[in-house]
Structures are given as structure tokens and as C-alpha cells.
Amino acid sequence: MRWRTDPLLVVEHLTMRFGGLVAVNDLSFDVGRGDITALIGPNGAGKTTVFNCITGFYKPTEGRLALAREGRATREDVAALTQSPTRNKRFAEGDLYLLERMPDFEISWKARVARTFQNIRLFQGMTVLENLLVAQHNPLMAASGMTVLGLLGAATYRNAEKAAIDKAKAWLEKIDLMDRADDPAGELPYGAQRRLEIARAMCTDPDPALPRRAGGRSQPERVARPKQSPALHPRRPRHVGPADRA
């Protein structure tokens, strides 16, 4: 029940309209740090749309998405950040981001939100290992001195690349795909592709509070329901775990 005491993500009045169609209507919920949270609902309820708003692929029509990467987001801090023209700020209590103001790639890179997709989106023509290296683009790019140092064969870059490959290997071990590392991702069976997509998302170094705890006891789940479907009665939680598969 950390969402009451230590919310990681605070979604308020999220509304997304596509022309006349209201896909998400005034949705508010909190996500607790370290909790496993799932969003469930019938087909077309707007789950994917919510995730697309959180990860910046859609700009919400209305609403506020405040993410506290470290520390806590107090009501006053969120209000202060909303007043200011910037998208993120360090407060005494924590590091706050307003996701609705950020472009999608910065939400991944700066706010450290990782996601997977409802229809798997791997780089099919690249190998499993390459997929995991692309996920580490930003740190590798910095280590390669914006490519210049890398082209000159600097040791810093070579070490960084080795570290990146080691990290990829660690994830390959976890998802049991070590012996397929050099195969194209598109040739993997569906289940393996799904695991690879999760590993790839994890290679972006998402905020440690966001990932599923591998093997850990699952926290009591909090389910947020889009408000436009109050009659919703889930048969079983459909998107548990890294719920951001939408």
C-alpha cells in the first residue's frame, strides 16, 4: 500500500481525446514505489492509451503526470513544478518530473521509465545481443565521446562497450537466451521475444523502483481503473508484472 505513503507516479485528471473519441476520461491514480501495479479493463477501455500517455507517445489532452524518481513528491513540490516552465526539478524531498511535458525519448532516458509494447516491437533484423546494446545507447554514446573518441579507438569506449556486453550477457542469462545471442531477434519464438523485449527495456537502466522484482514476493496489487468503465469486473488481472506492456 505504498501508493498512499510513497507514491512514485501521480496521475491526475488524465484525459486523452482522439478527435471526438474520448479514450481516457479524467483518470487519476497513484502508483506506489516498489509496488506492482496493474491496469486492467476490457478491450478498448483505454489501457494502452494510458501507457502511451505516461511514456510520452501521446501528449495527453489534459492532466498531470508527476513522477518522483528519487525521494518523495509532496503536494507542494508538484504544485511548484507545475507553476514553473521546466519539466523537472530537484526538490529537498526528491527529484520530480512532469512527464506530460517531456518528449518520449527523454521519459526513457531522463525519467528512466521503461516500457514494452502490446505488439512486441523488437529490432527483428538485428541480433538478440544487438537489441540489448541498442537499449544502452545513451551511456555508450557518452562513453564514445559522441562517436569521435570511439572512432579513434579510445580505451574508455572499448571498456564501456565491454561493460555493456557484460550487462547484456547478465540479462541473457536471466531470460535464458544465452545460446541465441547471435541469432536475429525476429527468429525467436514468441515467448522468447517477449522475454527479450523485457530484458531490452531493463537494459535502459530504468528507475530501480519501477521494475518487477524478479522472484520477490509480490506486493499487494493496486488496480487502477479508468473511470469511464466503472462497471468493470475483471475476471483476472491481465497485465500483471511489468504492467507497461500495453
Partner: protein, 458 residues
């Protein structure tokens, strides 16, 4: 075409005849204005319409029979159809072996090529081989490699690549004639200027995707050409810029007499020296392009380009700034176009907007597509086939012996060439080298089948 569905279904004569009949009908329709009707001037300069129905019917009949044969061939019983993937393996193994051999062998051949042709056909005869074939092909190899970064790796369809070639050529032409700068200073400047224009074009354009990007880049190519034509004060319009300083051997001019290259090295003066030097120069530039591209492919930026081609949305979900990534691809590709352009100017000694028409962009793009998008070796082979092929087709004098002395083979050059391209793309739809070589591997480098590799969408 219907190939994939015909693959599995048994041969159905009625359907095949219907299909072939339809193709013949389309051919007849197309041939009607082109072949069946012909306007000719008679003695008194009047246009008379000649009707040549037999030509149209023959064309339709050829297509009918051909299509029927094609369907029959596709429907031929193939017992080992399910085993196809397994049968694929030796083929790819052969391909990787060949690619391991072809590249070094080709390079070795290129290194000795000027001397071989000099030995084989003398100073006068070898000029054609080194200049028309060697240098010309290498320019397109370099342009193909440059565009390969944009189209093949990053998957951005650029139909205006010739604009950067033009920027490079005019950079050298103007800088050298106005400020008297030497080629060796202008060469990097031309590359930088072209890259700069790549970024200028990139900023507004890269939010577009697919067809829209293609159209805008096409327009950009035309704009540059039209500006060069109309801004006479700057570029001297249609007349172009003549008297561009020729290439020197690192400061030693290729002239007859005292202080010239021949004199300095105790050789007898011959214009072939400059041509041979130009050959090695473009070879070096092309190899530089190749080297940089191969290195970049193994860098994070190169991987990001390819990831962008595979799936842009997934890239953004991984925190990759796709705008910057596209811009770098555009700028680096443009930069190599600029290098090639300044080489073009120093080789010709003359530039005019005529040299930078859309057909150039189309040719370079065709080289990249024919070669197999993203493959360095494929692009080089495609340039040899495309440019060498069109040059060879100029020499079709022997056809006169078949079709009579009135036959002008040069007129059919492009037709033959177009047909060859169509056949090529049906035979190898993913290009000459259809596999992708991974940029990194743990245990072994297995090439990725072209069927999995995306072509990009913008």
C-alpha cells in the same frame, strides 16, 4: 506479384491462362500508342500515321507466353519445399565465403588496375578504361556508400542526394576560382559544407516519414539545382564554372616541362599520369568512406541508425533521440556526397547544373537498392554493374551486324538497362547482397537473412 500465392498452389491451367491473358491485354493497351501507331513525316513534311498492328500483337503474344511460362515454373512441384531453410544454410555460407574473397580480391584488382590497363592497351587506349570505367565507377561507388548510410542503414528515403554532390562540386569550383584555395584545403571544406546543408535540410524534414520525406528531399535536390541555374551572379547559371584548377600531385602540377610531375620524376610527359593519380585519389576517398561507415556501424550511433530503420517507436522507448540520430545520418551521408562532388569538380575542371539532375539521385539510389540496402560490398558490386554496364552498352556496335547499319544501339541502351534492372529485382528482390552482417557478436557472426531486415519507413 502473385509469386507468393502461386508458390504453394498447384498449377491451375484456367487461372494461369486468365492471368496471362490479362497481362497480354495490359501489354496490348500499353503497346497501342507506342508500337501500333507511329507518326512519320512524308516527303512533303506532313505527318502520316502508320499502323503497325502486328508489332502490338507480337508484344502481347510474347507477354502471354512468357507469363504462362512463369506461372508454370513457379507452380512446378517442389518436394523439398519445407526443407528450404536448411537448404538455405550452405547458400549463405557460400555467400559469406564469397564476400570474404570478393572484397580483398576486388581491392587488389583496383590497386593494380591502372597499370594492367596501361600494359594491356597502351597510354591512349587505357585512358578510356581508367577514366570512363575506373574513375566513373569509383565515383558512384563512393556516392552509393555515402547514400547507403542514409538509406541503407538509417532507412531514410532520400531522393535528393545529388544536391549534396552539387554542393561539394560547387564548393570546390567557387572556392578555388574565387579564393585560389587548393584542392586539399577545399576537399574537407566541401565535405563540411555539404554536411552543413544536410543538417539544414534535415531539421525541417526529418519529422516527415516515408513518402513525404522522399518527396521533400526530391524537391530539395531540385531547389539546389534551380538555384544554381538562376542565381547567375553566384554560380554563373547554365554556363557553369570553367577553368577550375586541376588536381596537383600534392602541389606538383601535372604539366609538361620544368617543375611538372613528369619532369620531377624523370618520366616522359603524358596526360595519363593525371588520370592515374585521379584514379588513386577517388579510390582512396571511396575506401575512406567505406572504412568510416564500417567503423560507424560498430559504434552506438551506427547501431542506433539500424535500430531506427527497424523500428523508430521502439528506439524512442529506449531513450534514443531519433531526431539527432537521423540528423547525423543525413549529415555524414551528405558529407561524403560533398567529398565526391569536389572530386568530380577537380576531375572535370568544369561544373554546371546539368550534371546534378534528378536522374543522378535516381541512379545512386538504384545502386543502393540493387546492391542490397546496408551492404557495403553489394553497393560496390551494384555500382560496377550499373555504371560499368551502361558504359559497356555504349559499345554495342556489333548489333549493327544483326539489325543492319541503320540501327543505332545507343538509343536502346537505357531500354536494355531498364529491362536488366527489372529482371534483377525480380530475381533478387532484396538486392545483390541480401543478408545483413551483425555489428557485434558473442560466439559467431551469423548473417541475418534479408527477410527479417526492415527497409525503413522514413
Amino acid at each position: 506479384m502473385a509469386a507468393s500465392s502461386a508458390d504453394r498452389e498447384p498449377f491451375d491451367l484456367a487461372a494461369a491462362v486468365r492471368d496471362a491473358g490479362f497481362s497480354a491485354l495490359v501489354t496490348a493497351g500499353l503497346a497501342f500508342p507506342i508500337l501500333a501507331l507511329r507518326a512519320e513525316q512524308d516527303m512533303s513534311n506532313r505527318l502520316v500515321l502508320q499502323e503497325r498492328w502486328s508489332w502490338m500483337l507480337i508484344a502481347a503474344a510474347i507477354v502471354f507466353v512468357g507469363r504462362l511460362a512463369m506461372i508454370a515454373w513457379q507452380a512446378r512441384p517442389r518436394a523439398e519445399a519445407p526443407a528450404a531453410p536448411a537448404a538455405d544454410k550452405p547458400a549463405t555460407a557460400l555467400a559469406t565465403f564469397l564476400s570474404k574473397v570478393i572484397a580483398p580480391a576486388g581491392l587488389a584488382f583496383l590497386l593494380i588496375f591502372p597499370f594492367v590497363s596501361l600494359y594491356a592497351s597502351g597510354a591512349a587506349g587505357s585512358l578510356k578504361w581508367i577514366d570512363n570505367y575506373g574513375i566513373q565507377i569509383l565515383i558512384y561507388v563512393m556516392l552509393g556508400w555515402g547514400l547507403n548510410i542514409v538509406v541503407g542503414l538509417a532507412g531514410l528515403l532520400d531522393l535528393g542526394y545529388v544536391a549534396f554532390y552539387a554542393v561539394g562540386a560547387y564548393s570546390y569550383a567557387l572556392l578555388s576560382t574565387t579564393f585560389g584555395l587548393s584542392f586539399w584545403i577545399c576537399l574537407p571544406l566541401a565535405g563540411i559544407l555539404a554536411a552543413f546543408w544536410g543538417v539544414i535540410l534535415g531539421f525541417p524534414v526529418l519529422r516527415l516519414r516515408g513518402d513525404y520525406l522522399a518527396i521533400v528531399t526530391l524537391a530539395f535536390g531540385e531547389i539546389i539545382r534551380v538555384v544554381l541555374i538562376n542565381w547567375t551572379d553566384f554560380s554563373n547559371g547554365y554556363a557553369g564554372i570553367a577553368g577550375i584548377p586541376r588536381v596537383t600531385f600534392f602541389g606538383v602540377p601535372f604539366v609538361d616541362g620544368e617543375g611538372g610531375f613528369a619532369n620531377l620524376f624523370g618520366l616522359e610527359f603524358s596526360p595519363i599520369h593525371r588520370t592515374i593519380f585521379l584514379f588513386y585519389l577517388i579510390l582512396a576517398l571511396a575506401l575512406l568512406t567505406n572504412l568510416v561507415t564500417l567503423k560507424l556501424r560498430r559504434m552506438p550511433i551506427g547501431r542506433a541508425w539500424e535500430a531506427l530503420r527497424e523500428d523508430e517507436i521502439a528506439c524512442r522507448s529506449l531513450g534514443i533521440n531519433t531526431t539527432n540520430t537521423k540528423l547525423t545520418a543525413f549529415a555524414i551521408g551528405a558529407g561524403f556526397g560533398g567529398f565526391a562532388g569536389s572530386f568530380f569538380a577537380v576531375r572535370q575542371g568544369f561544373v554546371s547544373p546539368e550534371s546534378f539532375t534528378f536522374i543522378e539521385s535516381a541512379t545512386i539510389l538504384a545502386i543502393v537498392v540493387l546492391g542490397g540496402m546496408g551492404s557495403q560490398l553489394g553497393v560496390a558490386l551494384a555500382a560496377v554493374i550499373m555504371i560499368g554496364g551502361t558504359e559497356l552498352l555504349r559499345e554495342l556496335e556489333w548489333t549493327k551486324q544483326i539489325f543492319g547499319p541503320d540501327f543505332d544501339p545507343a538509343q536502346y541502351r537505357m531500354l536494355i538497362f531498364g529491362l536488366a534492372m527489372v529482371v534483377m529485382m525480380i530475381w533478387k528482390p532484396r538486392g545483390i547482397v541480401a543478408t545483413r552482417s551483425p555489428s557485434v557478436f558473442l560466439k559467431e557472426r551469423k548473417s541475418v537473412s534479408g527477410d527479417l531486415v526492415k527497409e525503413g519507413h522514413g
